[in-house]
């Protein structure tokens, strides 16, 4: 149990997927203009990253390892994640239209999200077992969502602040993301 709590702290704060490891910065800047949109995107990422980590773990365990094809990891993971996201989109559209209405717009953005890919590969490098991998993915997704919502709130405040025109928009977002990253470095050292 304590091991999972440490995993929780590490995934969300110490090794935040976007602020500490700088993965998934494209949707991080692109969908953080409104808090509502950020929440939707974050929820979709949590869902997809958890599912994709589970599937990629299984593929690695039962397909690549027995055949000694570790060097195909990247290609295989891309294929699996893309197919999975597409399947999920179709499934939601057919079975759960309300959820599709609210999250469906974000699914195509996640197909090429390097955060999803990165989390899957990190699990392999750290040789987590199946349950630990799923929990790590879930916590990392929550970390992504936290960073997204916080940045969206800050950018909403910046929207009504007097600022030089050349800094408005994406430049200000990048500056705020950098400052947030520096702030999250305070968590370094909590876990050896």
């Amino acid at each position: 149990m304590q091991e999972y709590f440490l995993l929780f702290i590490a995934a969300i704060f110490v090794n935040n997927i976007v602020l500490a490891q700088y993965l998934g910065n494209c949707p991080f800047i692109g969908t953080s203009k409104k808090t509502g949109v950020a929440l939707g995107m974050g929820s979709a990422v949590v869902f997809v990253v958890t599912m994709s980590t589970a599937f990629t773990w299984l593929v690695q365990k039962y397909v690549l390892d027995p055949l000694d094809l570790g060097y195909l990891q990247t290609l295989t993971f891309i294929l699996v994640i893309a197919a999975l996201v597409q399947f999920v989109e179709m499934f939601l559209k057919k079975m759960v239209p309300p959820l599709y209405q609210s999250l469906g717009i974000f699914l195509p953005l996640i197909t090429t999200n390097c955060a999803v890919m990165g989390i899957a590969i990190i699990c392999q490098r750290k040789e987590y077992d199946f349950v630990t991998s799923i929990l790590f993915a879930l916590f990392s997704g929550l970390g992504f969502m936290l960073a997204l919502v916080v940045l969206a709130s800050i950018r909403e405040k910046l929207e009504v602040t007097r600022m030089p025109r050349s800094i408005r928009g994406v430049p200000a977002g990048l500056i705020m993301a950098g400052i947030m990253s520096l702030a999250f470095f305070a968590f370094q050292g909590m876990i050896a």
Binding site: T76, L79, F87, V160, T161
Partner: protein, 699 residues
């Protein structure tokens, strides 16, 4: 090694492809292919101006029938045409619309406090409603500039947003973001249909004008040399600007803020200046007209109210037909106002400008005799406007008033206008103090008579224009005040020979505060006279409204006027509207024109929507807090003098026009006297205190 790699990748790919293929068949959601086609026809700006969540939402709404083919306000007519082809629809031409800013205050407006918070109009509005003292004033922090997706708005030099009509796509985002309601989406129709509201930026002159003309705007256009623009501004509310430029008594000048400094701005002289400028060019400015609606409206009466109603209905796309009982249009403008005030060719030119838009005319036809409401309905008319004016003369109320040689004022002026040869002898007495009496007196002078005007009160109480009273005196008209006729004495042939009258004196004030004239006993006198013209009020003649059974279906009042809703002008019969003197009793020309426009507005709403929408905050009287007794920091400037075209004998022996028009230099100088007022703000001359304050604020 390579073989196993290829096999694994292809295997996984095949498995994924198979799963997706099965899923795409099992999980297929049927979607209308037209949605995709319509969505591709839309511009894809996703501005949300149509009210749906982006172009995809709009496409869904079009296919499901919730929205028309013209759903896209950003794409305009081209997009509507493309969508209509996909849907198999026919699309009408969209009216061009643009965002418009109503407030003219900017940094001229007083501020309640010095705001140093977030640069957002909405944020400032949360603090006591905003820094501007005026509740409708623009806060000037540029939220509308921020939200505009087409870059059509930028902040001007005076703290007001400037909207580029070419770039504006009327998506409505700036309207939604403005916390003070300063910006609205307007097209030509909304400007024609607009009623003054207390939330508008109304200068006192705009509040007072019965025609609701945007006076500060056209004076600003005169100042900038845009005379055609000034004409178009006036024509949005008043199609008879040549007429009003000559005969209007100018109620707007009575509330002009410049009047608190020196003298009011010569608002009407400027109107006449731009109107004569248009007439001197020899061609009518092209007036935009909305696409045809195919609806026919009958207008009974071709006076100022009927002409105004026809003009605005035509501009809104309808097909009005004017029925008049006289041989020419104009009503009291032609027959009740003499040539030296309003030349017939000027009136003809202006009426021609209205008719050339596509208005039909039927003359020499009497309502109730040659046609009725029922016969017009059978011809396909869907609505009716009754503007038959007030043609009946008031009685002299003296013994022997039916004698030969006694002729009512309106009768006299009408006969003169129709070219009848009148024998008025050498001595003429006109009874009454209104504009009609003055007109009759000055007309009699031009016919060679020795004229005396008799009025029962004093000069100060005469309802006529002061300039008219002075003009008549200059032309030789003598005044007898505090006198009232009591008896007409005839000679052996039954013709008027003398008139007996009583002297009056002003008694105690009555309930309205006016002192009532009281006869002086024993003061009877006689005066030799050849012709008597009573000009004591006018009344509508509504006998034509009664049918064969002597029943009138319209509600009437005891003053012989038609009763109607004061705002919508709808009568007891839903499709019959009224306006002008037959509704208000005798009144100003500009009041009749204003009522004609409001009736056209009601008819338009009635025909297109079924009910007539009236804004909750319609302005009905002057707004008290906008009427200033003193005006600060304004230097006096001389007012322009009205030039005269005729002098001496030429003036009193001919019917040539008497009053002239300003020169261009005089007009520009007069336009700069305008303070460009808003609800509570106006132009001030800069003084050291104000300049220091502006420096302190960093402006």
């Amino acid at each position: 090694m390579i073989l196993s790699s290829i096999l694994v990748l292809f295997g996984l790919g095949l498995v994924a492809a198979a799963v997706l293929a099965v899923a795409s068949r099992v999980l297929y959601v049927k979607e209308d292919p037209r949605v995709v086609a319509v969505e591709s026809a839309l511009p894809g700006a996703n501005c949300g101006g149509c009210g749906y969540p982006g172009c995809a939402g709009a496409a869904q709404a079009v296919v499901s029938g919730k929205a028309g083919a013209d759903v896209c306000v950003a794409g305009g007519a081209e997009t509507a045409q493309a969508v209509a082809e996909i849907m198999g629809l026919e699309v009408g031409a969209m009216e061009p619309k643009s965002a418009c800013r109503d407030c003219t205050g900017g940094e001229r407006a007083d501020e309640l406090y010095l705001y140093e918070g977030a640069s957002s109009c909405r944020a400032q509005a949360m603090l006591y409603g905003g820094a501007k003292a005026c509740s409708s004033g623009c806060l000037g922090l540029g939220s509308c500039v921020e939200v505009c997706p087409f870059n059509a708005i930028h902040m001007g030099p005076h703290g007001l947003p400037i909207i580029d009509p070419e770039e504006c796509r009327a998506c409505g985002k700036c309207v939604a973001v403005c916390p003070r309601g300063v910006i609205s989406i307007e097209g030509m129709s909304s400007r024609l249909l607009h009623l003054n509201q207390t939330s508008d930026c109304l200068a006192p002159c705009r509040q007072k004008c019965p025609g609701q003309i945007n006076i500060p705007r056209y004076i600003r256009q005169v100042r900038e040399g845009d005379y055609d623009g000034a004409v178009m501004t006036i024509k949005e509310r008043n199609p008879l600007l040549l007429v009003c430029g000559r005969v209007c008594p100018r109620p707007c000048e009575t509330v002009c803020r410049r009047g608190a400094v020196d003298e009011p701005v010569a608002i009407n002289m400027l109107k006449r200046f731009v109107a004569d400028h248009e007439m001197a060019s020899g061609r009518h400015l092209p007036v935009p007209v909305l696409p045809d609606t195919g609806r026919k409206i009958a207008i009974v009466g071709g006076g100022p109210a009927g002409l105004s109603c026809a003009y605005f209905l035509r501009r809104l796309g309808h097909h009005p037909t004017i029925y008049d009982s006289m041989p020419a249009l104009g009503g009291q403008l032609r027959y009740g106002i003499p040539e030296y005030r309003l030349p017939k060719k000027v009136l003809d030119w202006e009426i021609q400008g209205i008719l050339s838009l596509g208005v039909n005319v039927v003359l020499n036809t009497k309502f109730g005799v040659d046609f009725t409401l029922e016969s017009l309905r059978e011809e396909g008319f869907e609505a009716f406007f009754v503007g038959i004016g007030a043609w009946q003369c008031g009685n002299l109320r003296a013994e022997g008033e039916d004698a030969e040689g006694v002729m009512g004022g309106i009768e006299f002026l009408t006969a003169q206008a129709l070219g009848e040869k009148l024998d008025i002898g050498k001595k003429v007495i006109v009874v009454g103090g209104g504009n009609t009496a003055i007109d009759a007196a000055r007309t009699s002078v031009r016919l060679g008579a020795d004229v005396t005007l008799m009025y029962r009160r004093t000069r100060a109480e005469m309802p006529a224009n002061p300039e008219e009273i002075a003009g008549a005196e200059e032309e030789g008209v003598k005044y007898m005040f505090l006198s009232t006729p009591t008896k007409v004495i005839t000679n052996e042939q039954g013709r008027v020979a003398q008139m007996e009258y009583l002297r009056m004196e002003l008694g105690e004030p009555d309930a309205s505060g006016r002192r009532r004239p009281v006869p002086i006993e024993g003061s009877e006198s006689r005066i030799d006279v050849d012709f008597i013209i009573p000009a004591i009020g006018q009344n509508p003649d509504i006998s034509c409204l009664y049918d064969d059974n002597n029943v009138c279906h319209l509600d009437t009042t005891r003053w012989q006027t038609i009763n109607a809703d004061p705002v919508t002008l709808q009568t007891a019969i839903p499709d019959v509207f009224t306006g002008g003197d037959v509704h208000t009793g005798p009144n100003l020309v500009i009041s009749a024109i204003g009522e004609g426009r409001r009736a056209a507005r009601s008819i338009h709403h009635y025909l297109t929507q079924g009910d007539i929408h009236v804004p909750a905050d319609v302005q009905r009287e002057l707004i008290a807090h906008t009427l200033f007794k003193t005006v600060e920091n304004v230097a006096p400037k001389d007012r322009a003098d009205m030039p005269h075209l005729c002098h001496g004998k030429e003036r009193t022996c001919t019917f040539n026009e008497v009053e002239g028009v300003l020169t261009e230099q005089e007009a520009l100088a007069e336009a700069t006297r305008c303070l460009d007022c808003g609800l509570v703000c106006y132009n001030r001359d800069v003084n050291p205190e104000v300049a220091l304050d502006q420096v302190r604020r960093g402006r």
